[in-house]
C-alpha cells in the first residue's frame, strides 16, 4: 500500500504555482534540489563575474583607454577573482557533490539533510553580501565601495589606514559566511560517503568521483580554517585595534601571505579535483573501458591532496624568503606534477584501445586533457624560482592560472554538465548547440589565454588598468580581448542550451550513455527517495554486472 502511494506521487507530480515551487525551494532538504540550487546560483554568479571580466578586457583592449577609472578597475578584478573562486568554483563543487555522491553510493539522501540546506543558504547570503557591498560599503562615512584589495587581500592594504569605509569588511564577512557553508557541506559529504554507502559498496568499489570528492572535502576541512582565521584576525585588527598585521607595532604583513596561501594554494586543488572527478567518470564511459589503474588513481588523488598542502609559499618567492625555503617550496611544487601526471596517463590509458564515442562530454574531456597538460607545464616553469622572480605578478601568471581554472576545471565541469544534465532533468542537451559551445569556447579560450602568456613575458604586470602605446603589447591585448568575446558567445550557446533543453530536449531515459555507476540505475530525474529498494553492489561497475550477467566485473576484481 505504501509503495503504491509512493509510485502514484512520483508518476504524476502535481502542477504547482510559481509561489509553491519557490516555497518548495526554500524549505527543501532534498540533496538533489539543493545540488541543483548550488549549481544554478553558481552559474548566475559565473555570468556576473564573467561580465566583469569582459569589462576589464574591453578596458585593456587598446592602450590609454579610459572606459573605467582605476578605482573601478581595482574593484572589478577583486570582485571577479573573489566571485569566481568562492561563488562559482566552490558552490559548483558542492553542488556536484551534493547531487551525485548519494546517488553514486546508493543512498537516499545526505547524512544531514538540514545541515545541507543550511550550507546552501550560507553560501547564497554570503554571495549576496559580497555584491551588496557596491551599495552598502560606503555606509554613513561615504568611503569605499566594493572591495578593491585583490582576491588575496594582502596586508597592509587591508588595514584601517589604507582601506577606509567598509569595503574590506564586506569581503571578510561574506567569505566567512560562505566558508561556514562550505565547511558544513564538506562535513556532510564526508559523513555521507563514510556512513551511507549501500550494501557491498566497499571503499575500493566506490566510483572515483566519490573518492575524489572525499579527498577534496577533506582538504577543505584542513585548509579553509587558515583563511577564516586570517580573516578573523583581520577583523580584530580593523575593529578592535589588534596588531596582527600592523607592521608599525611589530606585526607582520608577511604572516597574512603565509596564512592566505596555506589556504589559497590547496584551494586550487580543491577546485581542480572535482574536475578530475568528472573526467574520471566520463572518460571510461565514452571509451567503453573501465578506468585504467583505479587504485593508482585513488592513491594519486590522495597524494595530490597531501603534497599540495606543502607548496603554498611558491606564491611568495619574490617576498625574500631564505634560499632553503625557496628550494623546499620549488621542489615540493614540482613534486605535485608526479601524481598529476599519473592521472593524465591513466586517463590516456583508459582511452588507449578503447572504442571512443565522441559525444559532447567526451569532447570537453579531451579538450581538458590537452589544456590541463599545458597549464601544468607553465606551472612547473613558475615553480623554478628565478623564472618566477622574473614573471611573478605578470600576465604570464594570470594566463597560467586561467589555463588551469578554465582550460582544466571549467572544461571538465562543462563535460560534467553535458553528462549529468539528462539525469537531473530527464532530457538531453542539444548536441549541435553543444558542439557550437565547445568550438566557440575552445577557440576563444586559446585566443585569449595562449596570447596572454606573451605580454606577461614582455613584462606587462597584472592588475594595471591601462598601459601606454608603443610597448609591443597592443596587438596581443586586442587579440586577448577579442578571444573573450568569442568565449562569451560560447557561454551564450551553453545558457541557451541549458534553458531550451529543459522543455525541448530529447527525452533521455534512465541511462542514455549506457553507463555503469548507480546514478544511472534510477529514473531521470530521480524520485525524491532516489532508489525504491537500496541497491547492492559487488564490483566497481554495478550496472555493467546488471547488463552483462554472463560476464560480470566481480569475477575479475579482487
Amino acid at each position: 500500500m505504501a509503495a503504491q502511494e509512493i509510485s502514484l506521487i512520483s508518476s504524476a507530480p502535481p502542477r504547482s504555482s510559481l509561489i509553491d515551487r519557490l516555497h518548495g525551494l526554500v524549505v527543501t532538504v532534498d540533496h538533489k534540489k539543493l545540488g541543483l540550487m548550488y549549481i544554478g546560483t553558481a552559474l548566475l554568479f559565473l555570468v556576473v563575474a564573467g561580465l566583469m571580466a569582459m569589462v576589464m578586457r574591453w578596458q585593456l583592449a587598446i592602450p590609454n583607454n579610459h572606459l573605467v577609472p582605476p578605482d573601478v578597475f581595482n574593484r572589478l578584478f577583486t570582485m571577479h577573482g573573489t566571485a569566481m573562486v568562492f561563488l562559482v568554483g566552490m558552490p559548483i563543487l558542492a553542488g556536484l557533490g551534493n547531487y551525485l555522491v548519494p546517488l553514486m553510493i546508493g543512498a537516499r539522501d545526505m547524512a544531514f539533510p538540514r545541515l545541507n540546506a543550511f550550507g546552501y543558504w550560507m553560501f547564497l547570503f554570503g554571495g549576496l553580501l559580497l555584491y551588496f557591498s557596491y551599495l552598502g560599503a560606503p555606509g554613513l562615512s561615504g568611503h569605499g565601495s566594493a572591495p578593491d584589495v585583490g582576491w588575496f587581500a594582502y596586508a597592509p592594504l587591508t588595514g584601517r589606514a589604507f582601506s577606509r569605509g567598509h569595503s574590506t569588511d564586506y569581503w571578510i564577512l561574506s567569505l566567512l559566511l560562505t566558508g561556514i557553508g562550505t565547511t558544513v557541506s564538506s562535513i556532510n559529504v564526508i559523513a555521507t560517503a563514510v556512513s551511507m554507502r549501500c550494501r557491498g559498496m566497499t571503499l575500493m568499489r566506490m566510483p572515483l568521483f566519490v573518492w575524489m570528492m572525499i579527498v577534496t572535502n577533506f582538504m577543505i576541512l584542513l585548509v579553509m580554517p587558515a583563511l577564516s582565521v586570517a580573516q578573523i584576525m583581520l577583523l580584530i585588527d580593523r575593529y578592535l585595534g589588534g596588531r596582527f598585521f600592523d607592521t608599525q607595532a611589530g606585526g607582520s604583513a608577511l604572516l597574512w601571505q603565509h596564512f592566505f596561501w596555506i589556504f589559497g594554494h590547496p584551494e586550487v586543488y580543491i577546485l581542480m579535483i572535482p574536475g578530475f572527478a568528472c573526467v574520471s567518470e566520463i572518460v571510461p564511459v565514452f571509451s567503453r573501458k573501465p578506468i585504467f589503474g583505479y587504485p593508482v588513481m585513488v592513491g594519486a588523488t590522495t597524494m595530490i591532496g597531501l603534497i599540495s598542502m606543502g607548496v603554498w609559499a611558491h606564491h611568495m618567492f619574490s617576498v625574500g624568503m631564505t634560499s632553503t625555503g625557496n628550494t623546499f617550496f620549488a621542489i615540493s611544487t614540482m613534486l605535485v606534477a608526479v601524481p598529476t601526471g599519473i592521472k593524465i596517463f591513466n586517463w590516456l590509458g583508459t582511452m588507449y584501445g578503447g572504442k571512443i564515442h565522441f559525444e559532447v562530454p567526451m569532447i570537453f574531456c579531451l579538450g581538458m586533457l590537452f589544456q590541463f597538460l599545458i597549464a601544468g607545464l607553465t606551472g612547473i616553469m613558475l615553480a623554478v624560482v628565478p623564472f618566477d622572480w622574473q614573471l611573478t605578478d605578470s600576465y604570464f601568471v594570470v594566463a597560467h592560472f586561467h589555463y588551469v581554472l578554465i582550460g582544466g576545471l571549467l572544461f571538465a565541469l562543462f563535460a560534467g554538465f553535458y553528462y549529468w544534465y539528462p539525469k537531473a532533468f530527464g532530457r538531453m542537451l542539444n548536441r549541435k548547440l553543444g558542439l557550437w559551445h565547445f568550438w566557440l569556447f575552445t577557440i576563444g579560450f586559446h585566443l585569449t589565454f595562449d596570447t596572454m602568456h606573451i605580454p606577461g613575458l614582455l613584462g606587462m604586470p597584472r592588475r594595471i588598468y591601462t598601459y601606454d602605446a608603443g610597448r609591443g603589447w597592443e596587438t596581443l591585448n586586442l587579440i586577448t580581448s577579442l578571444g573573450a568575446l568569442v568565449q562569451a558567445a560560447g557561454i551564450l550557446c551553453l545558457v541557451i542550451n541549458l534553458l531550451r533543453s529543459l522543455k525541448k530536449g530529447e527525452v533521455a531515459g534512465n541511462d542514455p550513455w549506457d553507463a555503469w555507476t548507480l546514478e544511472w540505475a534510477t529514473s531521470s530525474p530521480p524520485p525524491e527517495y532516489n532508489f525504491e529498494t537500496l541497491p547492492v553492489v559487488r564490483s566497481r561497475r554495478p550496472l555493467w554486472d546488471l547488463k552483462h550477467p554472463e560476464d560480470p566485473d566481480w569475477k575479475y576484481e579482487g
Partner: protein
C-alpha cells in the same frame, strides 16, 4: 531500482555495517577546529617576544593552576557521567554531569578574573601590543569553545532533569563528551604555549 541479479549475488553481505554518520561528522568537525586552533597557535608562537612595547607576558601572566585543574578534571567527570549513563544509573549521571558544568564554570570564572586583572590593573588590552592581540584572541577563542560546550552540557542537564534524556541519546551524549575532551586537549596546548613557552 530493480536489480535482481545484484540482489541475488549480494546475500553474503548481510552483515553490512558502516561507521555512524554522527561520529564521522564530529571527527571532521574536530579536525577542522584543530586546524583553526593551529593557525592561532602558530600566530601566537610567531609573535612571541616581538611586541615593541610592554607589558610582556612575564610581567603580567600568572600560571592559571586552579582553572587548569578544574578544566582537566572535568574531562574525568564527564567520562564518569557517561559511564553511569551507559549503566542506566541516571542519578549518578546527573551528579557527574552537573560537576562537569560546575568545573567548566569555575574555569570560565577564573578566566574572567584573570582578564579583569589584566585589563584594569595591568593595562593590557587587545590593542596594547602584539602580546595582547595574540593572547586575547587565542585564549578567547578557547574560552568561547568552553562556553559553547557549557551550553550543550547545560541543555542536556536541563533536559535530563525533566526526564527527557534516555538511552536513545547515548550516542549524542558521547559526541558532546568527545567535543569536551577536544576542548580540554586544546587547553593543554594553549597552556603550554601561552603560560609555559611564551612566558
Amino acid at each position: 531500482m530493480t536489480n535482481e541479479a545484484t540482489i541475488a549475488v549480494g546475500q553474503n553481505a548481510l552483515d553490512w555495517k558502516l561507521p555512524s554518520s554522527r561520529k564521522a561528522a564530529i571527527i571532521c568537525l574536530i579536525l577542522t577546529e584543530t586546524c583553526i586552533f593551529s593557525i592561532f597557535v602558530a600566530a601566537y608562537v610567531f609573535y612571541i617576544g616581538k611586541s615593541l612595547t610592554g607589558p610582556t607576558p612575564r610581567e603580567v601572566l600568572d600560571l592559571p593552576i586552579l582553572s587548569t585543574i578544574c578544566l582537566l578534571s572535568s574531562s574525568v567527570t564527564i567520562t564518569l557521567a557517561e559511564r553511569a549513563f551507559n549503566r542506566d544509573r541516571i542519578g549518578r549521571f546527573k551528579i557527574f554531569w552537573l560537576a562537569t558544568i560546575v568545573l567548566a564554570a569555575i574555569f570560565l570564572a577564573s578566566t574572567a578574573v584573570e582578564w579583569h586583572r589584566l585589563i584594569y590593573q595591568k593595562g593590557l588590552t587587545i590593542s596594547t601590543n602584539l602580546f595582547g592581540t595574540t593572547f586575547y584572541s587565542l585564549v578567547g577563542l578557547h574560552a568561547s569553545h568552553v562556553i559553547v560546550g557549557m551550553c550543550l552540557l547545560l541543555l542536556v542537564f536541563i533536559l535530563s532533569l525533566r526526564g527527557h534524556v534516555n538511552i536513545m541519546h547515548r550516542e549524542r551524549l558521547q559526541m558532546i563528551s568527545w567535543y569536551w575532551h577536544f576542548v580540554d586537549a586544546v587547553w593543554i596546548v594553549v597552556f603550554t604555549v601561552v603560560y609555559v613557552i611564551g612566558r
